[in-house]
């Protein structure tokens, strides 16, 4: 009898365990409702686990990204989608007003975001506001300058855009295949700083074209995101026009002998900002996520994003990365008064916000870019 009871008990136990194991997923599903899906339009990396996993787990949401490469590509994707397709849009700052003009984004409530924590340079960032109406909130930025192979050029040599014409890199200068940053750098080299390297008259535009064409004999190729990485990493290209630490920072972690500097002529700032998609029904959770990304913890993730690093526009973000990863804070200059402190560069007037052309059309710049590539 005892044996029988024991036998029965073991079987019952096994059956019970098996049933429990099989039923567990159902129980889990019953406990938690299906996660809310947040459709995000963004550059690659922004909806990857290193950025969003923690927020997803804590808020029972699931990010569904649609990645793009370049502002034009982003505008095309959104223009071909019905209203409400994207709940959250990460845009380069220079395209925010185009998103606004086309009616693709919602007005935002400035009181919901920690602007007091922003450095003054970013509190009322051009392009994000029309008068006092907010359309986008900056989440990260970075600087574009001269990116170079440290075996080929010294830091001093790289401190001017003239480094691209250095005989030591003849045939080994690559372009990130996007006209805005490359032509912006040529414009800076020509001294077009006031009001902006992108706001130039016809004479200055002609001079920029001439200067750019003179670089042609030095050029080894035009590359997309992946090609830029591989050609800098394998030493096929020794200098790259139109990029910065967002590429070389990743490569340096892999041990590549590359670096980026902001040259004497000045650097160009790229900016990534969140906007709320027109017609979304998920404004509340989207706002919560934007605030999460602007929190110290979110900024630490953003600064160290696996796809490509960025800088923090908030004071608490700087403090947080100094505590969480002092080496990264030092490397990226997120320490007040450091040589590469980006705020110091802003105050010295050495950084210019990347913009769309003001006195020419985007088509003019792109047409020239095609001509330059085939010259």
């Amino acid at each position: 009898m005892t044996q029988n009871r024991l036998h029965l008990s073991r079987r019952t136990l096994l059956q019970g365990a098996a049933s429990a194991a099989l039923a567990t997923p159902m129980i889990n599903r019953a406990w938690a409702s299906d996660p809310v899906q947040i459709n995000m339009l963004a550059w690659y990396g922004h909806a990857e686990p290193d950025i969003v996993a923690e927020f997803e787990a804590a808020n029972n949401v699931k990010f569904v990204p649609k990645y793009y490469a370049g502002g034009d590509n982003m505008l095309a994707l959104i223009s071909q989608s019905p209203p409400g397709t994207y709940d959250l849009i990460l845009s380069d700052a220079e395209f925010v007003q185009q998103l606004n003009a086309a009616g693709y984004i919602e007005q935002m409530d400035a009181s919901l975001y920690p602007f007091d924590d922003f450095y003054p340079e970013f509190q009322k960032f051009p392009g994000h506001w029309t008068d006092d109406t907010l359309w986008s909130v900056m989440v990260r930025y970075g600087l574009l300058g001269v990116s170079y192979n440290t075996d080929a050029l010294t830091r001093e040599e790289a401190m001017s855009y003239n480094a691209y014409w250095n005989p030591k890199v003849t045939g080994k200068v690559g372009h990130f295949d996007w006209h805005l940053p490359s032509l912006g750098q040529m414009s800076l080299l020509n001294g077009n700083k006031s009001p902006s390297p992108f706001d130039i008259d016809e004479a200055a535009w002609e001079a920029v074209k001439e200067k750019t064409l003179s670089l042609k004999p030095q050029i080894g190729g035009y590359f997309d995101y992946g090609g830029t990485f591989s050609n800098l990493k394998n030493g096929e290209m020794l200098a790259m026009v139109g990029i910065g630490d967002w590429i070389t920072g990743v490569l340096r972690k892999d041990g590549a002998k590359v670096d980026s500097v902001i040259p004497e002529e000045g650097g160009i700032q790229w900016t990534e900002s969140y906007s709320i998609g027109k017609g979304t029904s998920k404004t509340e959770i989207v706002n919560k996520f934007i605030n999460y990304m602007l929190s110290p913890a979110g900024q630490v993730k953003s600064i160290q994003m696996a796809a490509y690093p960025g800088l923090s526009p908030t004071k608490s973000g700087w403090k947080a990365i100094q505590d969480a990863n002092p080496d990264e804070a030092k490397r990226s200059g997120l320490i007040e008064g450091a040589d590469n402190d980006p705020i110091k560069l802003f105050k010295e007037g050495r950084v210019f916000y990347r913009d769309t052309p003001k006195q020419q059309t985007l088509e003019d710049w792109n047409d020239f870019w095609s001509e330059y590539k085939s010259a």
Binding site: Y222, E236, K373
Partner: protein, 280 residues
Amino acid sequence: MTERTSVYRIFWRLPLILWQGAFFVVPVAFLAVMTFWLVKNYRMEPDFILTNWEKTLGRGVFWDAYWLTLWRAALAAVIATAIAFPAAYTLAFRMSERTRRFALFCLIVPFFTSFLVRAYAWQVILAEGGPVNAVLGSIGLGPYVMLNSGFGAMVGYLTLVLPLVVIFQTWGLSAIDRNLIEAAWNLGATPLRTLVRVILPAARTGIFVGAIFAFILTFGDFVSPFYLGGSKPPTLSILIIDTTKSGQQWPRAAVVSMMMILTLFLTSAAALRIAYRGRG
């Protein structure tokens, strides 16, 4: 009887007609219509304007890219045909049926992997610090710039098309009546004369079809000129990407595509006419 035959014929032709209609005629017609559309605020709007044709064909950049693409495709077809022939000849005439089947299978194996992955592999191999330059360096040569050049692009083109060309040529050569070759020998023809007067004319169709495929595939290839040629200078496929990237000028990209389709149609038709001439 005639009516039944006609229904029977239409029935068997219907899948091909439907397929070509749905996946070739309709898309090409749409592409042609799109060339007259307008782009406003990054959005295409149906219209009937000639601006896209004028702006595309009126630019030197287009014609530079056009002639470069045409030249590279023709060169790749000729090189692939020349390199493939000895291999195809050996497979067709010097190997057993079993070995030939195995060799043909080996030629298909590269297509099991993505062409993009193979192009990335070539990036490593052709790099200045890569294995090819290392071997050349060991005998005091180089280093040579092979990546991000016309040479690099050509390596990519041949990687894409060479196995196909060998397969087409092998089929063409295998179909030759061996009695003709033996008759030529019996009549005292030298091996070279037999090759030129008997084998090549008899295998003409396979050789031409292989060359046409090589031309078509390289003419439209984006991966080789972009990832191995460094976009320097741009081909038509790269020009399409550039055109769509800035301002979303899909109608102008459609003009480039229409010109590519027209070119391929004319060259293929001419080559096929030569390939099948005299065959009834």
